[in-house]
């Protein structure tokens, strides 16, 4: 018989004999003083591999193009040393690549967060109308003569938030049911696309053409101001993203269990969606709706890490790798004609989406928020 008394007290002695110590499988604990952090070992390895891959992709991006630049020269430019390739690498390729990298990272995180909250891999901001809301309002603003890239990103954020709110309100029936949420989102996405088209036919020819290119998602002509905006958004949201990474652990459980564990589910969920919507909208605002990155990146990352929730850092890295590589291909595939990067991501993403929808039949749909 054990003589240990009640639970929890600070002075409780360690039970004897000590059984084998248990911690979540696959995690390591980092400790400093009283602070301790759980780290998923495989996720760390995957993040390291993705970082190397990203480094290789960015280098290739800087070297390959209309004229080939040797890696050594490209690196010189990045490090700010004088080089004859200053113009091609430093002025043309580098800023565009940085924008692509940040757009990919933002879409990756946004997709991971929205998919986590909806507990459905289909519920990505580019599927359920958030990107389309951002597009519609942006194109609307373009047709009314707002062409400043200093204003447009904020218009996009507003559009994304309004679309998210609308989908949420229409999907709510005393609770959020994942399938209904996704279907209503897809409906809104279609409706918002038509509104965008309407704006384009109303606007004058030049504006429509500009909007059309923006709409397919293009990094063409993007430069440091856009990179700065995206970079500072990610930086400002960094604490929120760190919080989100941990909050995901509980939100991925069912509602009753999460509540019983002391999670303020409504607030946490709202917080996660807000971060996701802002990131998706800012990314859409700078590069247009680069379709399917938010849908694909988190699921690729999760399959690699095999974690129980979608890994945020790895989703961001995967998104960055995907967009940088896709834009490299978009630039070179039919050279000298450059494709918008969105065409490339769509070519990969669309078959995946079809496969995913086909597969969904076998997965029970889960209720989110409230008892149905």
């Amino acid at each position: 018989m054990s003589t240990r008394t009640a639970v929890g007290g600070d002075s409780t002695t360690v039970p004897t004999p000590t059984p084998e110590r248990r911690r979540p499988a696959g995690y390591s604990v980092l400790r400093t003083g009283r602070a301790s952090f759980l780290v998923h070992r495989r996720a760390v390895t995957v993040a390291a591999v993705l970082t190397l891959l990203l480094a290789a992709a960015t280098l290739a991006y800087l070297c390959v193009g209309e004229s080939f630049v040797p890696p050594g020269e490209a690196l010189k430019v990045v490090l700010g040393r004088p080089s004859p390739d200053e113009l091609v690498v430093g002025t043309l390729r580098l800023p565009r690549m940085v924008v692509g990298l940040l757009v990919g990272a933002a879409f990756g995180i946004a997709g991971a967060l929205v998919q986590t909250v909806a507990r459905n891999p289909l519920a990505s901001p580019d599927i359920i109308g958030i990107s389309q809301g951002a597009s519609a309002l942006t194109v609307g603003a373009l047709t009314f003569g707002v062409t400043s890239y200093a204003v447009l990103p904020y218009v996009s954020i507003a559009g994304g938030l309004v679309a998210a709110a609308l989908v949420y309100v229409f999907a709510w029936r005393g609770g959020l049911q994942a399938t209904r949420f996704v279907l209503i989102g897809i409906g809104f996405a279609i409706a918002l696309r038509s509104i965008t088209t309407l704006f384009m036919t109303k606007g004058d020819y030049l504006v429509a053409q500009q909007a059309q290119i923006w709409m397919t998602g293009s990094l063409n002509g993007r430069s440091w101001p856009e990179a700065q905006l995206l970079g500072s958004t990610l930086l400002i949201l960094l604490p929120a993203i760190a919080w989100a990474a941990r909050a995901q652990r509980t939100v991925s459980m069912d509602d009753d269990t999460a509540t019983a564990l002391g999670v303020r589910l409504g607030r946490v969920r709202l917080g996660l969606v807000l971060v996701g919507v802002v990131l998706a909208s800012v990314a859409t605002g700078t590069a247009g709706p680069v379709d399917f990155v938010a849908l694909l990146a988190p699921q690729i990352a999760r399959r690699m890490t095999r974690t129980a929730q979608i890994p945020l850092v790895c989703s961001a890295l995967t998104g960055a790798v995907v967009v940088v590589l896709a834009d490299l291909l978009a630039r070179r595939l039919f050279s000298p004609t450059e494709l918008p990067v969105g065409v490339l991501t769509a070519a990969v993403g669309a078959p995946y989406l079809i496969w995913l929808i086909g597969k969904r039949h076998s997965i029970r749909s889960r209720t989110v928020g409230g008892k149905s």
Binding site: R22, T250, D256, G262, A308
Partner: protein, 262 residues
């Protein structure tokens, strides 16, 4: 002493009122079993005791304070609750799931203390799931999965534990196993346990304190030997029966009466 009480509790789902003006005292350090026919409001009551359902009127009191006024994390340090059909995240491993029971004791800067490790280790060995630690929860049998969920609730190390029909999808040997475990938890640690069951005989066998509900009201409560009578069974379940002593435990055993009209 009763730490957990319900006062004039009225519970409803949208328009449908399920429980009307219910008063309930959960005796400390005992196993309370709530029984009743389907849709009598027993699970609804348990959900309200664990603040999963907001009362329409009245309140649930923990140490005299309404649950609605307490921070949910503080409640989670006192009351553990296992819902009727919890859903695990896809591909989660057993040890990872059990570890999430530690959530209410953790902070962002303190994600895994020695205390967490001790609690999880202990919960897993108690429920006999230690050797499943690395397995994905999806791959387990119903009985194993239920033990894992109970381990998660145990790892929370709360003085009060609420279990909503923990035996539902289990075969009889696993049902007995789970209920024995519940009894043992209460016996070894003096934990207060509230269980919702629909099997009256199991309720009579495992309860210190039995609460019989019908149509959203408490019909009778007290020790099983006092509460379980042929009249009560007729009133609550609408069943004619004979009540005899259980040959093993001596607790009341309900035997349904003459089914063929003999």
């Amino acid at each position: 002493m009763t730490r957990l009480q319900a006062r004039e509790l009225t519970l409803a789902y949208e328009e449908r009122t399920v429980v009307h003006g219910l008063d309930l005292d959960i005796p400390d350090g005992q196993v309370t079993v709530i029984v009743g026919p389907n849709a009598c409001g027993k699970s609804t009551t348990l959900r309200a005791l664990g603040r999963l359902l907001k009362p329409r009127a009245g309140s649930v009191l923990l140490d005299g304070t309404a649950l609605a006024k307490l921070p949910t994390k503080r409640i989670a340090q006192q009351i553990g609750l296992l819902p009727q059909s919890p859903v695990a995240p896809e591909a989660i491993t057993v040890a990872d799931l059990v570890a999430r029971g530690r959530q209410p004791h953790q902070h962002w800067w303190q994600q895994w203390s020695d205390e967490d490790e001790r609690a999880v280790t202990e919960a897993m060995s108690r429920t006999d799931v230690a050797e499943l630690a690395e397995r994905p929860v999806d791959e387990l049998s119903g009985g194993q999965r239920q033990r894992v969920w109970i381990a998660m609730a145990l790892a929370q190390e709360t003085e009060l534990l609420l279990l909503d029909e923990p035996t539902t999808f289990l075969d009889i040997s696993h049902q007995v196993e789970v209920l024995d475990l519940v009894r043992q938890l209460n016996h070894d640690r003096g934990r207060t346990v509230v269980v919702v069951l629909h099997d009256l005989n199991q309720a009579a066998r495992y309860a210190d304190h039995l609460v019989a509900m019908r149509a959203g009201e408490v019909v009778a409560s007290g020790a099983p030997s006092k509460v379980v009578t042929a009249e009560l069974v007729r009133e609550v379940f609408g069943l004619d029966c004979v009540v005899v002593p259980d040959p093993v435990t001596g607790s009341p055993l309900v035997v349904p009466g003459a089914p063929w009209g003999a």
